[in-house]
Structure formats: structure tokens, C-alpha cells
């Protein structure tokens, strides 16, 4: 296989891992959002459901992000270095969110039984659940806008703050956060199968988040026209854009309609498809660039031998990982008659 084919293959592998992180880890973050906004008479039951749903799987879900980072620095070192320099501040905040969230979740699960302490950790867990998706989205928005460049050696603000402090980047950040919350609410309707009232709570939340996501999608697209022309063209003008947009639209409408009609299994499938097509839509929109406007996937790629070996390692790892993950989810996420209750 040629160097360029390998590079594109591994870029696709990164997007697949990112997709897994968004669908699994993203939903865990979204769960934190619903923990923060738990309200009404069933507030504690809502929180319990979130903890119960996340508990066994969040560690594994979280590893997808590490896979993304490792693949990025192994296969696209030039891109990784540039990202790490230009986005130092938002990525550091992403880390702070990850550290606080992960440890607060564990401390709450294993800490003292006093409800005051549990609540304090819960608050940190929920607050940190906002930071990471928001700033990951900001990072993606900055990449899409073609603003991740080598520092020009001007001022600190111009090199390290201005690139990501734009309406478009923050709109993408908010969009990401709302999509994660949407995913979580949709998944939680299934987790709450045994408790109709709770299920209705999350159905309403999912519908609200779905509509908010639609509004933010439109906002993001309008801002993209002003700030991220390349991606805007990729999203609107290119022929494959129409195809992927239609898929997203079908998935989004299906998700909302099936939520409305209380067909939750279908809603989960459609919501997952919706978020995935948005992610791939972004990826295809900026193809062949890793970091627009100048660093291409092939231009940033490592030597062919590294790429080939990494691809082999991915195959080997996948052979171990896929059955293990299936086992994990089969044991804990069967949604059978004895799950969902505490």
C-alpha cells in the first residue's frame, strides 16, 4: 500500500476512534450535564440513573480519547505538534475537565457515605462535564476554521488566544456540548426502561436537547460562512456534502420523531447516526487537509513504515478489543429485565 493511501487510512482510523469517543465518552459527559440539571420531584432518581449507567463503562469509554491522541502523534506528528502549540490553553482546560470529572466520579462512588460530601463531588463531576466537551468543540472549531497555524511570533494574545477565541469556534463548542447532552438523554430513556416517570423525564430532555442542537447547527453553519469558508464550502457546496447532509437530516428527524413516539431503541440508533454523520461531515468537508489551510493529511504523515506498523497494531489491538468490549457491554448494557434497577 502506498504511503498516501496508508496516511488516509490512518486518518480515517483516527476519525473512527473519535467517533467512538463521541458516541460513548460523549454520552458520559452528557450524563454529567443531566446530573447538573437534575430537577423536579425525581431529581435524586435521575442522578442515580446517570451514575448507574456510567459506572461500569466510563473508564473504557474514556480510553478512546487516548487512542486518538496516540494515533495522532504516531502517524501525524507535524499536525500533533502544531495543535499542541496553538491550542495549548484550550487543551489544558480539556485536561483539567477530564481530571476533575474522572476523579470526582470515583470519589463520589467510593467516598464517604454522607450525602453532603457526595453532593460536593457530584457538583464537581457535573461542572467538569461541561468544560471538556465545550473546549473539545472549540478545538475542533478552531481546526475547521483553519486557524491552527505555527505561531507567528507576534504577541501572546495573537498567537495563543485569538485563534480559538472566535464566535464560530465557541458555537462549535456549544454544539458539541448540546449534542453530547442529547445523546446521553436518548440513551438514558433506554436505561430508565423500568421506571416510566423517569423515562418521560429523559424523553422531554432529549427532545429539548435535540431541538437546541438543530438551532445550534444552523447558527454554526451561518458562522462558518463568515469564518470557516473552506469547511462551509465542504459542507454546502461540494457534491458529497448533499449526500451526507441528507443522511444527517434523515437521522435527526428519525431521532426526534421516534422519541416523540416513544420508540426509544430506534431513537438511540438514529441519534448515534446523526452525531456520527455530523462528525464525518466535518472530516470530509476539510479533506484533504488535516489542519487547514495548508497542512494536508499526507503532508503531516509519518514515514510509511511507521504507518504500516501502526495499521498492523490497530488490527491486532482491534482483534483483542472488539470481543472484550462486546463482553463488557453484554454484561452491563443488555437492558434486560434485571438491569436498570439498583
Amino acid at each position: 500500500m502506498s504511503h498516501d493511501t496508508l496516511a488516509h487510512l490512518l486518518a480515517a482510523a483516527i476519525l473512527v476512534s473519535l467517533n467512538a469517543y463521541v458516541l460513548l465518552g460523549g454520552a458520559d459527559f452528557g450524563g454529567g450535564v443531566w446530573d447538573l440539571f437534575a430537577s423536579g420531584p425525581r431529581r435524586e432518581r435521575q442522578r442515580d440513573l446517570v451514575i448507574h449507567a456510567i459506572g461500569p463503562v466510563w473508564e473504557a469509554n474514556h480510553v478512546w480519547l487516548i487512542v486518538v491522541v496516540v494515533l495522532l502523534f504516531t502517524c501525524f506528528p507535524a499536525g500533533f505538534a502544531r495543535l499542541a502549540i496553538a491550542l495549548h490553553i484550550p487543551l489544558t482546560l480539556v485536561l483539567v475537565g477530564i481530571v476533575l470529572r474522572g476523579s470526582a466520579f470515583t470519589f463520589r462512588s467510593y467516598g464517604s457515605e454522607s450525602s453532603a460530601a457526595e453532593r460536593r463531588w457530584g457538583l464537581i463531576f457535573a461542572g467538569a462535564s461541561l468544560i471538556t466537551p465545550l473546549l473539545l468543540g472549540v478545538a475542533v472549531g478552531t481546526i475547521a476554521a483553519g486557524r491552527v497555524r505555527a505561531p507567528a511570533g507576534q504577541s501572546f494574545l495573537a498567537d495563543y488566544v485569538a485563534p480559538w477565541l472566535t464566535p464560530f469556534a465557541w458555537a462549535v463548542g456549544l454544539f458539541t456540548l448540546v449534542l453530547f447532552a442529547f445523546l446521553a438523554a436518548v440513551y438514558l430513556t433506554l436505561e430508565a426502561r423500568e421506571d416510566r416517570e423517569l423515562q418521560e423525564d429523559f424523553r422531554r430532555r432529549a427532545l429539548a436537547a435535540g431541538l437546541a442542537a438543530f438551532g445550534l447547527a444552523v447558527t454554526t453553519l451561518v458562522l462558518a460562512w463568515r469564518e470557516a469558508r473552506l469547511v462551509w464550502q465542504g459542507l454546502v457546496v461540494r457534491p458529497q456534502a448533499i449526500a451526507i447532509h441528507s443522511l444527517t437530516a434523515v437521522a435527526a428527524v428519525t431521532a426526534l420523531v421516534s422519541l416523540y413516539r416513544r420508540r426509544y431503541a430506534l431513537a438511540r440508533l438514529a441519534a448515534g447516526a446523526q452525531v456520527s454523520t455530523i462528525l464525518w461531515g466535518w472530516g470530509l468537508a476539510q479533506f484533504p487537509y488535516l489542519l487547514p489551510p495548508d497542512l494536508t493529511i499526507t503532508g503531516a504523515a509519518a514515514p510509511a513504515r511507521t504507518l504500516a506498523l501502526t495499521a498492523a497494531a490497530l488490527g491486532l489491538g482491534g482483534a483483542i478489543l472488539v470481543p472484550s468490549l462486546r463482553y463488557l457491554f453484554r454484561v452491563f448494557k443488555s437492558w434486560g429485565p434485571d438491569t436498570g434497577s439498583r
Binding site: 474514556h62 499542541a84 477530564i98 513504515r305 501502526t310 497494531a313 489491538g317 463488557l328 454484561v331
Partner: protein, 448 residues
């Protein structure tokens, strides 16, 4: 504080913090599986209680280890982008494999922790064994990547550009075997003695408590063999350093001049300006004997490289002395405990031994931190030895003292919380009334 120093300090703090949890993530699953196995074999409920507590401890430590490890994977780029740009394609391989091992560990830890009532006893124990195995494997891969920085291979350097990259040869670098062996043994010795130390301390106050007796034996069963093997692994490392990384060994031993029949210095403070060591105990020809198993052999000193390529000698020398001293102590306590157990005497009734084990509790961690100081500070000023200086690798972003301060405070806070949680989860004697059945007195001699 310069940005370079701030970046180095932040990296040092992040590593020092993470290593504690990484070690526990390797050692604790072994203890938890051992306890579960004993429970299944004997039906003794105390072992079940131990397995459950240790699995909770593993969960807490693993979670903090996972997030602090994520921080490190980002920090490699955030602080050292130029290093990752060059090294990424060469050492990305072990990191990728580590990613999968870590993934396996996370998956089966989830299965183990939440699967007590959902799996057959055999499947549950197997999940625990997979956690322990993948924990060890993921540690080994990360250390291989570090070993490459000390002994870079698998590429060619043409006019300062890296070409002909071969990730497999990079993984098979000369330092990999010694370093991974030393670190894996250290992880088991440290975890085993940390657990044994806590319970030895509690036994001093409550000598008949069967819970602590069983915990002590299991802790020693893991820690003592590793501590006894560690000096042999240290000997391998020292002889390898003498051949391949003589500057690091020279800094560790504060050997300023190359000489035959070099003496071994114990303690002392290196005076770098004067080029000699004050207040040290000198064992004639000792270093030559240790480094080459030949009392007359020539040992290379710091004078083999220019002054600006010396690592900070006092730091490396002091760290090395601490590591060796604490490792030796653990070795001797292990031999003593082995002797007492072999003579079929009651370990838990031997107060002097208990005091020695309690004292050993934190020593493994200190020795590991000191050992990593030798490896990392001893490589300075290089980030890739002989290829790239640390100062060339650092990010151009100014103001690095801000994230340094922030992460320091965050880690101090997390460290305090984890310490308290572990104490309340796994250290404290069972107190609740429903656990009173666990309070059976131990038998005349320790089990395990």
C-alpha cells in the same frame, strides 16, 4: 523561573504523581486476585472482604492513574511539541500497544468491579487476572518508550534529520529489557510493601486481628519476592549503564574522573566546581567491581563529555543513593520475613519485624521516585540522548509557570483526597457491626 524549567517541573510533577498510581494499577490487581483466590479456595470470608476492599482501592487508584495518564499523553505534546514531532513516528508504536493494553485493563476492571453478582466465580477471577496482566503489560510498553529516550535506536540521523525510521528496532532498544524488568519488580515490591506496611502498623496496635494478619501475609507474598529479586535487576542495570550510558552512571556515582579500580562512594555531597565528593564513605575498587564485576576495570567518568553535557550531578547522586539504600532495606526486611516465616514462626506476633515492615510501607514509593529521578535527570541536558536537547524540545508558548502552578495545586488536592479515601476504604479495620464476624482472631501462625 524560565519557561524551560517550568515545563520540566510540570512534567516532573505530572510523572511523579502518575507513577504512584501506575504502580498501584500494576500491583493492586494482583493482590485483589490473590485474595479472591484464597477466598474461593478456603471459603474464609475475611479474604472476600479483602478482595472487595482491594478492588475498591484498585478502582480509586486506577481512575486517578487513568486521568493523570491522559494528562501525560497530552503534555508530551503541550510541553514538548518538537520532541513529539520527531520522536512520535519512532516511539508511537509502544504507545499504541500500551493504549490497547490499557483499554483491556479498563474493560476488565469494569467487568470485575461491577460483576461480582453477574459472573460465575471463575469468569470473575479470570477478569481479575486479565486486569493484572494487562496492567503489567501496559507499564512495560510505556517504559520501553522511555528506554528509547535513553538509548535511541531504530532510525538514522542525516544532517540532523531523522530518516529510515524503524519502530520495531526502536522498541528493541538496548535499555528496554533492564528498565522494564526493574520497573515491573519495583511496582510489585512497592505495592506489596505499602499494603504490608499499613497492616503491620495496625497489627502493632491490634495483634490478634485476623483481618490484618491475612492482609499482611498477602502483601508480603507479593512484595517480598520482588524486593529480593530487585538487587539482581539493579546489578543488570548498573552494568548496562557502565557500558552504554556511562555519563548517567558517572553522575549517579559522582565519578568526575575516568579511572581504573574506581571506588564506590556511599553518601557524600558532590562539589561540582571542585570536581570531588565531600563526606563520602569510600569503598576502594567497589564501583569497578559492581559495574564490570572486575575490581581493576576502567569506569568512565564525567570528564568523557564536555561540561555543558553534564547532568545535575548532586541531584542524580543523591537520588541514586536514596534508591539503593531503600531498595537494600526492602531486600533485607524481605529476607528477614522469609526467614521468620520459614521457621514457622508467627509473623504477626514478631513485634520487631512488624515495626520494620511498617517502616518499609512508604519506602517503595520513595525509591521509585528516586529511581526515576536518576533516569530522567541523569539523561539531561538531553531529551533524546545524544540526538535532541531538552531545551530544543520545549513549546514556544510563554508563561508556562501558570499551568505549572495550576497542575501542582490540582495534584496536591487530588493526592490528599486519594490518601484519605484509601485510608477509609482499605486501611481501617472493619468496624461496622455486620462485619463483626470478620473479627476472628488469627491462628497461631500467619497464613497465606
Amino acid at each position: 523561573m524560565s519557561d524551560l524549567l517550568a515545563a520540566r517541573a510540570q512534567m516532573a510533577i505530572s510523572l511523579a504523581f502518575h507513577i504512584v498510581f501506575a504502580i498501584a494499577g500494576i500491583g493492586m490487581p494482583v493482590l485483589m486476585v490473590l485474595a479472591e483466590r484464597r477466598w474461593q479456595a478456603t471459603g474464609d470470608p475475611v479474604y472476600l472482604e479483602l478482595a472487595r476492599r482491594w478492588s475498591k482501592g484498585t478502582a480509586i487508584l486506577f481512575a486517578v492513574g487513568a486521568v493523570s495518564g491522559t494528562v501525560l499523553s497530552f503534555e508530551l505534546g503541550l510541553l514538548w511539541p518538537r520532541f513529539m514531532e520527531r520522536a512520535g513516528p519512532i516511539i508511537g508504536m509502544p504507545f499504541s500497544l500500551e493504549g490497547f493494553a490499557f483499554f483491556t485493563e479498563a474493560i476488565f476492571l469494569g467487568v470485575y468491579l461491577y460483576g461480582w453478582d453477574r459472573l460465575s466465580p471463575r469468569a470473575h477471577r479470570l477478569a481479575g487476572i486479565l486486569v493484572a496482566a494487562s496492567g503489567a503489560v501496559s507499564g512495560i510498553f510505556v517504559v520501553i518508550a522511555n528506554a528509547w529516550m535513553n538509548d535511541p535506536t531504530g532510525f538514522e540521523l542525516v544532517n540532523g534529520t531523522i530518516t529510515r525510521v524503524d519502530p520495531l528496532r526502536a522498541m528493541a532498544n538496548g535499555a528496554a529489557f533492564q528498565q522494564t524488568l526493574h520497573m515491573t519488580l519495583a511496582a510489585y515490591a512497592t505495592t506489596g510493601f505499602a499494603v504490608a506496611g499499613i497492616h503491620a502498623f495496625l497489627l502493632l496496635r491490634d495483634p490478634l486481628n485476623g483481618f490484618h494478619r491475612r492482609a499482611l501475609s498477602l502483601g508480603l507474598a507479593l512484595g517480598a519476592p520482588a524486593a529480593i529479586l530487585q538487587p539482581l535487576s539493579g546489578d543488570l542495570s548498573a552494568r548496562y549503564l557502565a557500558r552504554e550510558q556511562p555519563v548517567k552512571l558517572a553522575a549517579a556515582e559522582a565519578l568526575f574522573q575516568t579511572r581504573q579500580g574506581a571506588p564506590l562512594l556511599i553518601g557524600g555531597w558532590p562539589d561540582v566546581e571542585a570536581g570531588r565528593v565531600r563526606f563520602a564513605l569510600e569503598i576502594p575498587r567497589g564501583l569497578s567491581l559492581l559495574a564490570f564485576h572486575d575490581p581493576a576495570a576502567e569506569v568512565k567518568g564525567l570528564d568523557t563529555v564536555p561540561r555543558e553535557e553534564w547532568p545535575p550531578v548532586p541531584v542524580v547522586h543523591a537520588a541514586f543513593q536514596i534508591m539503593v539504600a531503600l531498595g537494600t532495606y526492602l531486600d533485607r526486611v524481605s529476607l528477614w520475613a522469609g526467614w521468620v516465616a520459614w521457621r514457622r514462626r508467627d509473623l504477626a506476633g514478631h513485634r520487631r519485624l512488624l515495626q520494620a515492615i511498617a517502616l518499609a510501607g512508604p519506602m517503595g514509593f520513595i525509591a521509585v521516585e528516586a529511581g526515576w529521578t536518576v533516569t530522567e535527570v541523569g539523561r539531561q541536558p538531553w531529551i533524546i540522548r545524544g540526538v535532541m536537547k531538552t531545551s530544543e524540545a520545549v513549546t514556544p508558548m510563554p508563561g508556562l509557570v501558570v499551568p505549572l502552578t495550576f497542575f501542582t495545586l490540582l495534584y496536591l488536592f487530588l493526592g490528599a483526597v486519594v490518601g484519605w479515601l484509601l485510608y477509609s476504604q482499605i486501611g481501617r479495620s472493619p468496624q461496622h457491626r455486620e462485619w463483626s464476624r470478620l473479627y476472628r482472631p488469627g491462628t497461631a501462625r500467619a497464613e497465606g
